[in-house]
């Protein structure tokens, strides 16, 4: 083949090219055509395709470079995937974003009025939890992330209305809100470890459940912007109660040992600890919501 010979040295591409097609004045030609006896300047229109084919084959170094480059690129992609997979499972993350519009509307309604909902169980199908599209009780990360961004924008608007806006404040607000949620998730993980509860609550689940408070924060800030200080406190009270009830029911359903089909009797002490964890997590919500929003509504 032409380019296998061309991989070797300088003049070899001429040797490779020689037997196949007659040489033509190649603009990409780097070296002088020193092969003797071949006529030059055969620029007839009929040999246009031959010339195109000629330029491709005429630079076998470029061919090899292209093949090598694409193999390097795919190797790089594999390395990146492997590194990311070491930290978090992308499939697990994709599960949380498998939402649709009906789920989002129903979930938002549930977050604001959870008192009428009866069945809080997360349904499973063959040991894997159902995606949020099929099960209203499944946690998702779409609502928390969208609510987080909306909260940042709303904070900017609220500060701007009070002439206290500057771009640094926006970044500080965003990182503060995010850090508080991370702290809460870490505290929840620690307390769940200490009471030795066997549940399938991963860190992403807890992040989702903690992120639902952003919806309450948005409503509280909106109430404060539209109706003043009274509106803020009313909205804060309403969303806090709804959020506490929602979180208590959801966590109790996920942590309660009587739902684990193990067969061994659940230890009494651990059950009590789980109740404490659930109630503590629910009680922290209004505190964090208040802490993160009161400085926006003066």
């Amino acid at each position: 083949m032409a380019y296998h010979q061309g991989y070797g040295g300088q003049g070899s591409k001429h040797r490779g090219r020689g037997p196949l097609v007659p040489p033509a004045p190649d603009p990409h030609q780097l070296f002088d055509d020193t092969s003797a006896g071949f006529p030059h300047a055969q620029g007839t229109p009929g040999s246009g395709i031959d010339m195109g084919f000629n330029t491709l084959l005429a630079d076998p170094m470029a061919n090899v470079a292209v093949a090598y480059g694409s193999s390097i690129a795919s190797q790089g992609k594999d390395i990146v995937h492997k590194e990311i997979h070491r930290f978090m499972s992308v499939n697990r993350l994709k599960y949380f974003f498998a939402v649709d519009t009906a789920y989002v509307t129903k979930k938002l309604a549930l977050l604001l009025f959870p008192y009428a909902h009866q069945n809080w169980e997360v349904r499973y199908s063959r040991d894997t939890p159902l995606t949020p599209r099929q099960d209203i009780n499944a946690p998702d990360l779409y609502i928390p992330s969208m609510a987080f961004i909306t909260y940042i924008l709303l904070a900017g608007i609220a500060l701007g209305l009070q002439q206290r806006f500057s771009p640094e404040v926006l970044g500080m607000c965003a990182s503060t809100a995010f850090v508080w949620v991370v702290i809460e998730v870490l505290a929840l993980l620690l307390s769940l470890y200490l009471v030795t509860v066997q549940s399938d609550l991963t860190a992403f689940d807890l992040l989702a459940y903690s992120g639902y408070k952003y919806v309450g924060m948005i409503l509280a800030v909106l109430g404060g912007l539209l109706f003043g200080s009274d509106g803020y406190y009313v909205a804060l009270a309403w969303t806090s109660c709804a959020l506490m009830y929602f979180l208590a029911r959801s966590l109790r359903m996920k942590l309660h040992p009587s739902l684990v089909p193990d067969g061994m009797g659940h230890p009494r002490g651990a059950g009590r600890g789980q109740t404490y964890v659930t109630l503590g997590a629910a009680a922290c919500q209004p505190l964090i919501v208040y802490w993160l929003t009161f400085h926006l509504v003066r």
């Binding site: 503060t176 030795t196 002490g269």
Partner: protein, 71 residues
């Protein structure tokens, strides 16, 4: 309280360091939190205190690093 991500990292580092410097022999045994006598049987219910002692011991083991002495 305005937090940055860097502040969170600092706080986490200081917290882990605080756990790591609790010396096993000099201090924890006197308080009664040494791990040799803590974990009694293999019951299903370790209890919060045993879990905490386990956590402290594992944090210290992970943070031990290159030094092989019992720091």
């Amino acid at each position: 309280m305005a937090f940055t991500l860097y502040a969170l990292l600092q706080a986490a580092l200081l917290f882990v360091n605080a756990i790591a410097v609790l010396h096993e022999e000099r201090f924890l045994r006197n308080v009664g939190w040494g791990t040799e006598q803590g974990i009694g049987g293999f019951g299903e219910e370790p209890g919060i205190k045993a879990q905490l002692m386990n956590l402290i011991r594992s944090v210290r083991t992970v943070m031990r690093g290159k030094m092989k002495s019992t720091v």
